[in-house]
């Protein structure tokens, strides 16, 4: 049985508790054990690297050093921001040993950084280590009929020289996982556009504008729901949605689900395990589409040009 060092991140015990709880269910089904990193600390998120140079590296480094004490070779990170900071710090430390030594001097009590633990986002772990075939094999309740827009946000695939995972412009890993669950991934052009991130508190109107465009594009793609793997994307799109609707005058009511919530549902866990009450935009109306027949391509009215072309052939 694989065991993963698990880094939940601060929001897993706060606003994204349903990400944490459904992740644990999904891993149980997939036969992966999670060992939470003992005494982990905040990675510093946006604030540390905005304001300081050394602290921005020291905070993630402490977690990397703590992870090296455990026997597992991979640390799986739930939050996209934590993942980005940890992965960037690791890249910096591995490339510049002198800098690593300097930063390590702030946490000497915890140990010396060796660089032998791999850092992966949970999306990356599902896609690379488990694989869509394995995921498909565990599905007992196919999500047929549900159309989802897969939203990756900035940090899961960018910057590519650090993440080395999927495409920075048009990633498909989450789309493939959704297809494995039986759902339909809609063509969503704003997959990796920014939601406004931490401006949620300090510059709310930026978030209302950026997240508003995302909701509009998701709706235009025909999605019933948006799927995410980042707690900040989730809270910006879900918690701020009523404000966005008020500002734009458009009613979206598009629920925003974590990838693990839909995986848990497809693996046969009951709806209540998804903690639907945590969502500001109710998830039930979107999930009611499961089981619906998907319109076959023939049903869609043909364009004038296509009809003309056919009559010419005849």
């Amino acid at each position: 049985m694989t065991t993963l060092t698990y880094f939940p991140g601060c929001s897993a015990h706060g606003t994204s508790e349903e990400f944490d709880s459904t992740l644990k269910l999904v891993m149980k089904t997939l036969g992966v054990q999670l060992e939470e990193l003992p005494d982990w600390n905040c990675c510093g998120a946006t604030s540390a690297h905005v304001m300081t140079e050394n602290l921005a590296l020291a905070l993630p480094l402490r977690n990397l050093v703590l992870a090296e004490r455990l026997p597992h070779k991979t640390m799986g990170i739930a939050c996209a921001s934590c993942y980005s900071r940890m992965k960037a710090t690791k890249a910096e430390m591995d490339a510049h040993p002198a800098l690593a030594q300097k930063i390590n001097s702030t946490i000497v009590e915890e140990g010396t950084y060796k660089g032998n633990v791999e850092v992966k986002s949970m999306l990356q772990f599902f896609y690379e280590d488990i694989g869509t075939g394995q995921i498909k094999a565990k599905v007992t309740y196919p999500l047929k009929g549900l159309k989802v827009a897969c939203y990756y946000g900035c940090l899961l695939t960018r910057p590519q020289r650090i993440t080395r995972f999927d495409s920075p412009e048009y990633p498909m890993s989450m789309d493939h996982i959704m297809e494995a669950l039986g759902a339909t991934a809609t063509p969503f052009d704003f997959k990796t556009e920014c939601c406004g991130a931490s401006f949620s508190i300090s510059n709310t109107e930026v978030v209302l504008s950026l997240s508003g465009i995302l909701l509009e594009m998701a709706r235009e793609s025909g999605a019933h729901a948006i799927v995410v793997a980042c707690p900040l994307c989730q809270s910006n799109l879900d918690m701020r949605q009523p404000d966005i609707e008020k500002k734009s005058g458009i009613t979206y009511r598009i629920p925003v689900l974590y990838i693990t919530q839909l995986m848990a549902l497809a693996f046969g866990y009951p709806l209540k395990d998804l903690k639907p009450a945590k969502h500001i935009v109710p998830i039930e109306p979107a999930l009611a589409h499961i089981g619906e027949e998907i319109e076959s391509p023939q049903k869609t009215p043909k364009s004038k040009k296509a009809v003309e072309a056919e009559s010419e052939v005849e």
């Binding site: 946006t46 905005v50 920075p168 920014c194 945590k278």
Partner: protein, 189 residues
């Protein structure tokens, strides 16, 4: 930098290049970063212009811009930059230099952004972890805007979206020591 055959000293450019690991002189002003940037319309100088200002050594003018405070580090620009300049790190280098020299653009939005980050770091220093509800409350108190987002509170709290309790790292002393040491490193460089 050599301009019209004359050697011109541009310490600002050198510092930004050293800190960011990029060469800003490589920028040929195509503007791809501006069209990519999701927040360029909030910036008083979009990324392309900031690059040019650094090239020209306009330090004070650059420090007074709000651009590097609005950069969300989404890295969309650097992925598309034909000269492969790490623009978010250039923005970061300018920001760190400006903080180091106590340059503060007198801009209410920049003040809000800075306040948020300061409270966030304060939270980590105290508990080792971040606690969202308390952070939002402190932000409202310290920016004297008590009722900001209050309309979200009943729903968020009733639904358990934001829990009331919070946790801390077992060895908060280790975290505080790290903060002290990192601050010292910051001073020495």
């Amino acid at each position: 930098m050599i301009l019209l055959g004359q050697q011109i000293e541009n310490h600002f450019l050198e510092e930004v290049n050293r800190k960011s690991g990029s060469n800003v002189l490589e920028c040929y002003q195509c503007g791809k970063c501006v069209s990519t940037c999701p927040v360029s319309n909030y910036m008083d100088f979009p990324p392309r212009e900031i690059m040019q200002m650094v090239k020209l050594g306009l330090k004070e003018e650059t420090y007074m811009a709000n651009s590097m405070w609005f950069c969300l580090t989404c890295a969309a620009c650097s992925g598309r930059c034909p000269r492969e300049i790490d623009i978010p790190r250039v923005m970061e280098a300018i920001r760190h230099l400006a903080i180091g020299e106590n340059a503060d653009p007198d801009n209410p939005r920049v003040k809000q952004i800075r306040k948020f980050h300061e409270i966030f770091l304060d939270m980590i220093k105290r508990y080792g972890r971040n606690y969202e509800l308390r952070m939002m409350a402190e932000f409202n108190i310290r920016t004297r805007n008590l009722f900001k987002d209050m309309h979200l509170a009943p729903k968020a709290l009733l639904k358990g979206k934001i829990p009331l309790g919070h946790e801390r790292v077992g060895r908060t002393k280790a975290i505080q020591r790290m903060f002290r040491m990192a601050e010292k490193l910051e001073e020495t460089k």
